[in-house]
Symmetry: C2
Subunit: 275 residues, 2 copies
Amino acid sequence: MEVISENMSHGGVQGVYKHFAKTNECEMTFAVFTPPNRETPPPVLWYLSGLTCNHSNVMEKGEYREIAAELGITIVCPDTSPRGDNVPDERDNWQFGLGAGFYLDATQRPFSVNYNMYSYILHELTELIDNKFKVDMSRQGIFGHSMGGHGALTMALKNPKRFKSCSAFAPISQPSNASWSTPAFEKYLGQKNDEWRKYDAVSLIEDGHLFPEFFVDQGKGDSFLQDGLRPWLLVDACKDAGIKIKLRMHENYDHSYFFISTFMKDHLHWHHSRL
Amino acid sequence: MEVISENMSHGGVQGVYKHFAKTNECEMTFAVFTPPNRETPPPVLWYLSGLTCNHSNVMEKGEYREIAAELGITIVCPDTSPRGDNVPDERDNWQFGLGAGFYLDATQRPFSVNYNMYSYILHELTELIDNKFKVDMSRQGIFGHSMGGHGALTMALKNPKRFKSCSAFAPISQPSNASWSTPAFEKYLGQKNDEWRKYDAVSLIEDGHLFPEFFVDQGKGDSFLQDGLRPWLLVDACKDAGIKIKLRMHENYDHSYFFISTFMKDHLHWHHSRL
């Protein structure tokens, strides 16, 4: 693991690190905020970012450090896809390829060589964090935004023993039948098949996966709300399955980091009280 | 004035706007955060950014919105220089030209046509803000970072009736004899002459300009501390002149926005209690 930068901030250290990821067969960059030292190692909260982002967007605009420092939480922000000249991509398509890994393990060539963000985060990066940082891996939570909010929901649903808390900002609810994600699912996973349901929050719930409770913030002024995000699908699925969900709809807020940063504090408190 | 974007954030509105500035003979972009509505119009706090920055850096990384919303302060973030293809520049020089206006009015051709950031901010942009936003112009404060921290100090010293409060993050103290600023001063103002003293905080104080009190935060791990910033020069000048100055030196903090955002809250409270 190579240190790209470490900056003191809010009494802790905001770091950016790089390593060669076997799972993705490429170099991966990620950000870790380490809160000020305490007697006990801090819990780990994973933040998964949305389409077009990398590790740095939420690090710069998410406004999480003050509260994470105060509550004593390590925040890990992975990239959203494999990177590099050798990674297959569609340059002019922001909904597929670089910046759009959808937190799944691709089954289709050539994408299956590098696009394994699910296993990368869940196993390889987790081991690295456990080895290189002083953290308490028995206390992990996960959250994210948009594609990453959905990634957090699916990872939590599939790993309810590992993650003790899950929340999301404006998550995609059902990517397997939303117009902005189905082309990517086809390329990563092949023509619609059972594999799609493993990376779709609503389908996972329908198929019996459970989680204690979700917390979701959504802006009513979000231009992706009606077609891409559709939180009511998630709410309905949760209700049918008996999963508690707290959805807050916010007048005038959009899909940007101006929205995320506004409600970041509430999410950190949500996770802190459960970790 | 053209609205580039307006996003709801922390209950207020973060806007980015553009207008043609006669003073600089070019289009200028600036950011304004308007806090949630109250009965009385909010005071205006000017934030001047450092070398290489434009209006957006502190808007994205400064973490000022939560507290500005809570305290009810309008934050105005101008650009650091004129912009555009017709504005003379030295492309590979980050200490001069675009992104490096030093908040002065240039006297030397060709720079004097566009590089008039002092008058632009103090007069033209001020009038625009007064006309287009619901603000209380009888309550104005000013702060900034590095080159912009120095800009804030000089504007306050030269306009102590207008600005009721002034603070700075890692300001340049005496640009007229620091190696990273003297070449720019020569190009903007000509070979060293009396004009230089009008845009130099320590010289202004030596020449009798007064201000009630300054508040300065400085990181001890700042790589520009010894040669470029030298806060002790400012402290000495203030002491000799009987100006109160509160300087805090912070272990391990550097020159970045990770430093600025950490202490932003303290600065907003400082200004709020004086506005």
